[in-house]
């Protein structure tokens, strides 16, 4: 143990904290925790696997379906079925990306290394968004191509990638998931608590929308299109409901919600005690 009683070896001072360096650090943090890797794997499996499963089931039962039931089946709904489920995994991981630092106390080490704090908020968001997009884009493309291949024999369920709106919907599935991740992440940054963050996200995405059906339909029609979940899902919806926003408007509104939540998170992070 004599070796460790030597004084500290000198270090060449390597300059300042930069956003790029914080990005590298956040990348290391994201990939060095086992639960992150598992959540991302689950999101990929759900996004790719569920459409394959639904395509297989639909194909097997096609012969016994009536004309109305057949008409109800849309190939793009099948191809993007996984998005609706994997959004939960993406959202939970988005919340955890920041709340786990609070629950473990890691946030103090982070803030000591980067006392200006905001580079951390941006850094985590950029890294998580990039990782999400890089994983989800191939996933939705594989889901589309794969489910189409399984539905190969059914002329009615074939749709071309070049058909109007199809490419936008499929790629939109990946974009939507990335935005869901960002939205959940900012909620995590605001609540600083895993349970609180997930509950808030679930409230906004899964509790409030069905409650709207209790309202008079004129109110419902006036409010629902502007809810984050409804606006966001227009990004990957091929067909548009009578009261829905356009894909571009819905996507822009959802991105706007993300930006507003992020701005609030930034103000709170810069001013609150850690």
């Amino acid at each position: 143990m004599n070796a460790i009683t030597e004084a500290l070896p000198r270090l060449e001072r390597t300059g300042r904290v930069t956003q790029l360096r914080v990005l590298r650090s956040e990348w290391t943090k994201l990939v060095s925790v086992r639960s992150t890797r598992w959540s991302l794997l689950v999101a990929v499996i759900l996004t790719v696997g569920l459409p394959m499963l639904f395509a297989g089931v639909t194909s097997a039962h096609w012969g016994s379906m009536g004309p109305n039931e057949r008409a109800d089946r849309h190939p793009l709904d099948i191809a993007l079925a996984g998005v609706n489920v994997s959004q939960l995994a993406i959202a939970v991981l988005g919340v955890l990306t920041i709340t786990a630092e609070y629950s473990t106390g890691m946030i103090r080490s982070t803030m000591i290394a980067v006392p200006k704090r905001l580079p951390v908020l941006w850094g985590k968001m950029i890294v998580y968004s990039l990782v999400g997009f890089v994983l989800m884009l191939p996933s939705v493309l594989i889901a589309f191509v794969g489910s189409q291949a399984i539905l190969d024999r059914h002329h009615l369920l074939q749709i071309s990638f070049s058909h109007h709106g199809v490419a936008r919907s499929v790629i939109g599935g990946a974009v939507y998931l990335v935005l869901v991740g960002i939205f959940a992440y900012t909620i995590g940054a605001i609540t600083r608590n895993t349970a609180g963050g997930i509950a808030t996200f679930a409230g906004i995405f899964f509790v409030i929308p069905p409650l709207m059906n209790i309202l008079p339909s004129s109110w419902n029609n006036a409010i629902t299109p502007y809810l984050p979940s409804e606006a966001g899902r227009q990004i990957f919806s091929l067909t548009r409901g009578a009261h829905s926003l356009s894909p571009a408007a819905g996507g822009a509104l959802f991105a706007g919600y993300c930006a507003a939540a992020l701005a609030l998170a930034a103000v709170l992070l810069a001013t609150r005690d850690t």
Binding site: A3, K29, T274
Partner: protein, 307 residues
């Protein structure tokens, strides 16, 4: 160099830090001493910019902590509260911190060896013992080769060998001209490690002095009395400037009177003494004597008696 002026932090009703002014100088180990809950950790958090002061100001190496462009090169910190993601390995934890400053992997590995965590560096930090966690915290504090070190209760959870190691490390870091600020609630620990002491109680500054001076000033003599009429004698001797403690039945420890005074007082009131002797107060007793009025639960006790 750490400079605090009129530093104050109020949480709701509680004044955790109350008008603290002090300077921590380079080239020596400065002990930050106070009972548990006296505001040491809060002060450290204010220095590091984790919390904002309600009033007053504190700078490190001439600037607010948040204003430093490369804080890990300026200040290395070990906080008392765990500050590690439990699911990440020690090596990845240090690497993530190092990368914010462009510090190399080689340096991370050097530090892991320095603190003796080589064999467990790839294990999840959540499985670490308290002592291993402290060593990892010290590695992260030393990562940036900082001018100033801020260590909150660094010997907590360390075995005797680890305590010895920390002492030597702190002393050699100070000898290299660094500022070393280390908190403890143990006077005995500070007496062997520190050169200078900043003592606080209930968030207020009690003493800012060299260790030698503190020991000389604080450690008075105690009169040890054994008597079957302890309660009666106690009533007689208690007045301003005199403090009496009872460690066992029929024994009083009197501080602030000479044995002659106690003996004469007993004779005057026909109190039987079975023993009367004088002894030097220990460092811990000296420290308790200084902070006695500032320990929160004591204050509560007094209020209850008064009510």
């Amino acid at each position: 160099m750490i400079e605090a002026s009129a530093l104050t932090k109020v949480y709701g009703e509680k004044r955790a830090v109350d008008d603290l002014t002090f300077t921590v100088r380079p080239g020596m180990v400065t002990g930050f001493l106070g009972p548990n809950g006296s505001g040491k950790s809060t002060t450290m958090r204010l220095v590091l910019g984790l919390d904002r002061p309600t009033r007053g100001d504190v700078t490190v190496n001439g600037k607010h902590y948040r204003a430093h462009i490369a804080p890990l090169h300026e200040v290395g910190a070990l906080l008392e509260a765990r500050s590690i993601h439990t699911g990440r390995s020690a090596r990845n934890h240090l690497l993530a911190l190092a990368q914010t400053h462009g510090i190399s992997r080689k340096r991370v590995d050097e530090l892991i060896d320095l603190v003796g965590l080589h064999d467990v560096a790839r294990k999840r930090a959540g499985k670490f013992s308290l002592g291993m966690g402290q060593r990892l915290g010290i590695a992260s504090a030393l990562l940036g080769d900082p001018h100033t070190l801020l260590l909150d209760e660094p010997v907590n959870g360390l075995d005797p060998e680890g305590i010895h190691w920390i002492r030597n490390l702190l002393r050699s870091l100070a000898a290299e001209g660094r500022t070393v600020f280390v908190s403890s609630h143990l006077m005995s620990e500070m007496a062997v490690t520190a050169d200078h002491l900043i003592v606080i109680g209930r968030g207020k500054l009690i003493a800012d002095t060299s260790v030698d001076e503190f020991v000389r000033r604080a450690s008075g003599l105690l009169v040890h009395v054994r008597t079957p009429q302890a309660a009666k004698l106690r009533e007689l001797v208690v007045r301003d400037g005199v403090h009496v403690t009872t460690t066992e039945p029929n024994v009083l420890e009197i501080e602030g009177l000479t044995p002659e005074q106690v003996g004469e007082l007993a004779a005057e009131h026909r109190i039987v003494l079975h023993g009367l002797s004088e002894r030097q107060a220990s460092l811990e007793e000296a420290f308790m004597h200084l902070t006695r009025d500032d320990v929160e639960f004591k204050a509560l006790e007094r209020e209850e008696t008064a009510a």
